[in-house]
Subunit: 190 residues, 2 copies
Amino acid sequence: MHSHDEHKNPWTIIDATTIYDNNWVSLIHHNVLNPAGGKGIYGKVHFKNKAIGVVAVDAEMNTYMVGQYRFPINQYSWEIPEGGCPIELDSLETAKRELLEETGLKADNWLRLGDAYLSNSVSDEYAEYFLATGLSQHAAEPEETEQLVVKKMPLKEVFAMVNDGRIKDALSILPLVKLELMLLKGEITL
Amino acid sequence: MHSHDEHKNPWTIIDATTIYDNNWVSLIHHNVLNPAGGKGIYGKVHFKNKAIGVVAVDAEMNTYMVGQYRFPINQYSWEIPEGGCPIELDSLETAKRELLEETGLKADNWLRLGDAYLSNSVSDEYAEYFLATGLSQHAAEPEETEQLVVKKMPLKEVFAMVNDGRIKDALSILPLVKLELMLLKGEITL
């Protein structure tokens, strides 16, 4: 369904200036010609890490949720275990490390559930998400700057929390809804 | 499941400086004490608009997809009709306006499918998404800076594009997967 022309970048960059840079993101201001040929600007937020999410499900159909206060939205948020992975490194290795750090879990089986661009009108943030099963409990190793609460909850209850809006984090909703869909369609058994 | 303490903001803001500001976003650099009490920084991207998405389905179970080149990811992207809504304005009114502007469609019936924070580790971007049915065709009014391609496609094919990863835009995936789940569960009929 894609023609050659559709794939051509219709934006022209006149100049690009890095306005801000920290360990996680940079902001680049561009003077551009927009697709209609008019002068414009584009402020792009570049992410230095991929966002990795893990839905971990045990033999009793429980999953593990992480609660934390999210500074940017000024709200407490219940989420699946998540972490950042430098762009050039392997996403699955980060998924394994983050799951262990935040919950103390190791998993025998890993399945890639999907990927997405989280906010493509402003940033290049890319996310990948995984299902982890065959769990065994080890010692958690939380980062000292984090204040995380981990709860084991029935997967069914977490699906309900997504569906009624108690879970509002996109990187949690995306793999949880995908998993519920796969279970309903019989594409996977747990 | 939330205790009072969990809801308390564990971050202390020492100072906040606006580093960048355009019509759509601003970037605020904070010096902070992190939840462990250590000195740190937090760069937050503030969005001036809510992100609104619309899944429009006609009587023959077709939906309307919009193709455009997304500057931040440097890729062509197929998405549901989307637009920005100033925080203080009504999301549904924006949904109606964006659907008409991009596709020329008006809808008799609107259903709110859900909402999410798209990237809560860095930004406060908030999204709401709707289902529009009872469609009638009018004249589209695309913004002159945009170069959009609109395609009417079977909803079933779009579900397949989400599931196999051809659609990678989070704001498109979230309502499409929610709708597929509701249809499978019999919570809605179209």
